[in-house]
C-alpha cells in the first residue's frame, strides 16, 4: 500500500518513489558471498510474487509462460520500464546487486502499476548477483534477450574478472539464451566497449548483428536513451560504444 502523505520517500506530485532516498554506494563487489535468498532452481522462481496480476497463484500457473528478457545490473530500472510497454506480452526481470537500488526499482514498478492499471505487470526486479546465479533463475534457452547497459568498468587488469562480460560468463549467457536470442551491451567507456566486443567476437556461440538488423530492432534504440546511466551520458554528450550479438548454434 502506498501512503503518499505519510511517506516522504514518495514524491507528492508524481506518486513515484524519489531516487534520493534510495542512494547507495556506487559499487558492490560481485565476488563476495551473498546473503540474500536465491532460488534453488528456475522452477522455484516465484512468479506470483514478481507478476501477481498475471500469476495469482504460483502453484497453478501456466508453466509455459516464462521470463524472456533479463536486464543485468538494471540499476534504477529505466530500461525495464521502457521495454514493458514496448513488449507488453513479454515477462522481464531486472537483476541488481545493490539492495537499496533494488528496493527503489520495486517501489517504482509498484507505483507505476497503481498509476496505470493493467500496465507494468510484466516487469519485476530481484536482488541477486548475476555473475553467480544466472542458472538459478533461467533454464537452458529460456531467454530471448539479455541486456547489459553501462556495466561497471572495473578498470584495473586484476579486476577484469569482475566484469560482467567475460569469456567464461558468456558461456553461461549462451546457456540461458535460446538460439537466435540477442545480447545487448553498451558503455561510455571505450576500453570496456572494446573488451565486450572482443569477448563476443571471440566466442563461438555468438555473432554480430548486421547494421540492417540493428536498424530494425526496436530494443537497440533504447540502449542509449532508456536508462538513467544512458541519460547521464547523453546529457554530458558522451560517446557510447555498443555491441549487439546473436546467439548461434554450435558448429557441428
Amino acid at each position: 500500500m502506498l501512503e503518499n502523505e505519510a511517506n516522504p520517500t514518495i514524491s507528492k506530485s508524481t506518486g513515484l518513489p524519489r531516487k534520493r532516498f534510495y542512494r547507495a554506494r556506487a559499487h558492490s563487489n560481485p565476488l563476495s558471498d551473498s546473503h540474500f535468498p536465491i532460488p534453488i532452481s528456475p522452477s522455484e522462481v516465484d512468479y506470483s510474487l514478481h507478476y501477481p496480476q498475471l500469476f495469482p497463484s504460483n502453484d497453478q500457473r501456466d508453466k509455459n509462460k516464462k521470463i524472456e528478457f533479463a536486464d543485468i545490473g538494471c540499476g534504477f530500472g529505466g530500461l525495464l520500464i521502457s521495454l514493458s510497454t514496448l513488449f507488453p506480452e513479454t515477462l522481464m526481470i531486472g537483476m541488481e546487486l545493490r539492495d537499496k537500488v533494488t528496493e527503489y526499482v520495486k517501489e517504482r514498478i509498484l507505483a507505476l502499476r497503481v498509476a496505470n492499471p493493467g500496465q507494468y505487470q510484466n516487469i519485476s526486479v530481484d536482488r541477486t548477483n548475476s555473475m553467480k546465479y544466472i542458472p538459478n533463475y533461467f533454464e537452458k534457452a529460456q531467454l530471448s534477450k539479455m541486456f547489459f547497459l553501462f556495466p561497471d568498468p572495473h578498470f584495473k587488469e586484476k579486476n577484469h574478472r569482475r566484469r560482467v562480460i567475460s569469456p567464461y560468463l558468456l558461456d553461461e549467457y549462451a546457456y540461458a539464451l535460446r538460439v537466435g536470442g540477442i545480447i545487448y551491451t553498451i558503455t561510455d567507456v571505450e576500453e570496456l566497449g572494446e573488451w565486450m566486443k572482443t569477448c563476443l567476437e571471440n566466442h563461438p556461440l555468438f555473432e554480430a548483428l548486421t547494421s540492417e538488423e540493428l536498424e530494425a530492432d526496436p530494443a537497440v534504440k533504447l540502449l542509449s536513451s532508456a536508462t538513467e546511466e544512458g541519460q547521464k551520458v547523453a546529457r554530458n554528450e558522451g560517446q557510447t560504444f555498443q555491441a549487439v550479438f546473436r546467439r548461434i548454434s554450435a558448429a557441428p
Binding site: 563487489n29 565476488l31 563476495s32 558471498d33 551473498s34 546473503h35 534453488i40 532452481s41 528456475p42 555473475m131 553467480k132 542458472p135 538459478n136 537452458k140 574478472r161 569469456p167 567464461y168 560468463l169 558468456l170 558461456d171 553461461e172 549462451a174 546457456y175 566466442h203 563461438p204 556461440l205 554450435a250
Partner: protein, 431 residues
C-alpha cells in the same frame, strides 16, 4: 572470510587441515592413500610398498594433497593440492611423468576416460586442461606441462570433478550448491563453451559426485552428495533431479548425541558393483550408509547403515574398484597442531558386496590381518599399525570444522557485516 576466493588473506593453519584420501586402482593392482603432503602407495599384485620416483625429489608435494585419482584405464594416477602442483604418475613405473604448475591451489582433478587429458580445478573455480600428447610412456623423463583454462565457475570453490563414463561431458560440483555439466570439447585447447545442463536442487555445498554406469545410457547417471544431508540422482543431459535420498535421519538413529540441529554433511561417496550400490560417508558417522540405486525406476534408497565397531573410525574417503567386492575406507587428517600429531591415517576394508545382492546382507568389516596386503599394507598406508584411537576423534572433528570453514557460507550479524565493510582494504584505497 567474506570474500574467500578473492583474498586468501589470513590463513589459519589449524582450520585448514585436509582429510585423508584413498583411491583404488580400477583393477585393484594398487591402492593409494594421501595424508597431508604424503602420498603412500601399496602394490597389491606384488604385495609390497611402492617407492615413488620423482626427479624433482621428495617431498613430492609441499603442502596438503586435496585430490588423488586413477584414470579409468589404470595407467595414470594424479595427485594435486595446496602446493599448487599437479603430478601425473605412471602406475607401471610409479614415476612422476608430468608436473603441472597451477596458479592457485588445486581442489579437484580428473583423467579423461581415453587417458589423453587431465583436468583440474583451482580454488577460484577455474578448470584447466592438460594435453598428454596422445599417450603415456611410463619410463619417459619428467616433463613440465602447461595447463590451458577450459571453463570457470564464477569464484566458487570446485569440490569435485568427473568425466562422464563416455568422456563426452565434464561435470564439476561447487560450493554454491551447483553441478555444471559441460560438453568436453573435441579439441580441448579451444575452451569448453557449451554447457549441457546445470543440476540444481541441493540446498548446501555439493561435496562429492560419482557416475553410475548403465547399459541404456553411455554417459551414465550422476549421483551427488552434499552438505544438505542428501544424496541425489541426476540425468545429466537435462539436469533433471530424478531422486533425493535423505540420509540425515539415518545418522541420527545411530548417534543420538551432540546434534544441535546441524546437518550431517555427506563427505564421500563411491559406487559399488557397477552402481547398484552406493556407499556414503557422512560427518560424525562411524560407518557408512549403503544406498540402492535402481536406474530402471530412477530411485535411490537407503539399504542399511553399516557401522564400524571403533567409534573413532569416521571415514573421510571411500574407494572401490569396478571388479571386486571390497570397499576401502580411510580416516585421517593432514596434521593436528595442538595434538602434536602429523599425517594420521587409518585404513579399513569392508567385504561382501556382490552384484546380485542388493540387500547387502553379507557386508562386514574385514579384520586387519585379513585385509589384502595384510599388516604390510597397513604399515605403508597408515604409517604404522598401532595408534592412540582418541586422536582420530579429534581428527574427525578438525576435518569437520575445516570443511565447514571452507564450504559453508558465513552468516554475519548486521553489526559484524558493517564492521567488516568499514575495515575492508579495497574500500580504504579508494577514499
Amino acid at each position: 572470510m567474506e570474500e574467500t576466493p578473492v583474498d586468501e588473506g589470513d590463513t589459519n593453519k589449524d582450520v585448514e587441515v585436509a582429510p585423508a584420501l584413498i583411491a583404488l586402482h580400477p583393477s585393484e593392482n594398487s591402492v593409494a592413500v594421501a595424508v597431508g603432503s604424503d602420498l603412500r602407495v601399496f602394490d597389491l599384485v606384488g604385495n609390497c610398498a611402492v617407492s615413488l620416483v620423482d626427479e624433482s625429489g621428495p617431498p613430492y608435494h609441499k603442502d596438503s594433497i586435496r585430490t588423488i585419482c586413477y584414470g579409468s584405464k589404470g595407467q595414470l594416477f594424479i595427485s594435486a593440492g595446496d602446493d599448487k602442483t599437479v603430478k601425473i604418475w605412471s602406475t607401471e613405473s610409479w614415476r612422476c611423468i608430468y608436473n603441472v604448475v597451477s596458479e592457485k591451489r588445486v581442489s579437484a582433478a580428473a583423467i579423461s576416460p581415453n587417458g589423453l587429458h587431465v583436468c583440474f580445478a583451482d580454488k577460484f573455480g577455474v578448470i584447466w586442461v592438460v594435453d598428454l600428447d596422445g599417450g603415456v610412456d611410463g619410463n619417459q623423463p619428467l616433463v613440465n606441462k602447461k595447463a590451458v583454462s577450459l571453463l570457470s565457475h564464477y569464484c566458487s570453490i570446485i569440490t569435485s570433478l568427473k568425466f562422464s563414463l563416455d568422456g563426452r561431458f565434464l561435470v564439476s560440483a561447487d560450493r554454491d550448491f551447483k553441478i555444471r555439466v559441460t560438453m568436453f570439447p573435441t579439441k580441448p585447447v579451444n575452451e569448453a563453451h557449451e554447457i549441457q545442463s546445470f543440476c540444481l536442487g541441493h540446498t548446501d555445498f555439493v561435496s562429492c559426485i560419482a557416475f553410475v554406469s548403465n547399459l541404456q545410457c553411455s554417459h551414465g547417471f550422476l549421483i551427488s552428495g552434499s552438505g544438505d544431508s542428501t544424496v541425489r540422482l541426476w540425468d545429466i543431459l537435462s539436469g533433471s533431479l530424478l531422486d533425493t535420498c535423505e540420509i540425515g535421519d539415518k545418522v541420527e538413529l545411530l548417534d543420538s548425541k551432540e546434534r544441535e540441529g546441524c546437518h550431517s554433511a555427506v563427505t564421500s561417496l563411491c559406487t559399488i558393483a557397477d552402481g547398484a550400490l552406493v556407499a556414503v560417508a557422512v560427518q560424525s558417522l562411524h560407518g557408512i550408509i549403503l544406498l540402492n540405486c535402481d536406474l530402471s525406476n530412477h530411485t535411490l534408497s537407503v539399504v542399511k547403515v553399516v557401522s564400524i565397531s571403533e567409534e573413532t573410525f569416521i571415514p573421510t574417503s571411500l574407494s572401490t574398484s569396478c571388479s571386486t567386492g571390497y570397499l576401502w575406507m580411510v580416516t585421517g587428517v593432514s596434521s593436528l597442531h595442538n595434538l602434536g600429531h602429523s599425517s594420521l591415517a587409518h585404513v579399513k576394508v569392508m567385504s561382501g558386496f556382490n552384484k546380485d545382492n542388493s540387500t547387502a546382507n553379507d557386508v562386514s568389516v574385514v579384520e586387519d590381518d585379513a585385509i589384502p596386503g595384510g599388516t604390510k599394507l597397513l604399515e605403508k598406508l597408515q604409517g604404522g599399525i598401532t595408534f592412540d584411537e582418541k586422536v582420530f576423534l579429534a581428527a574427525a572433528e578438525a576435518v569437520k570444522t575445516a570443511m565447514s570453514n571452507l564450504l559453508t557460507k558465513k552468516q554475519y550479524s548486521i553489526e559484524k557485516r558493517d564492521f567488516r565493510k568499514r575495515t575492508r582494504n579495497d574500500r580504504k584505497l579508494k577514499q
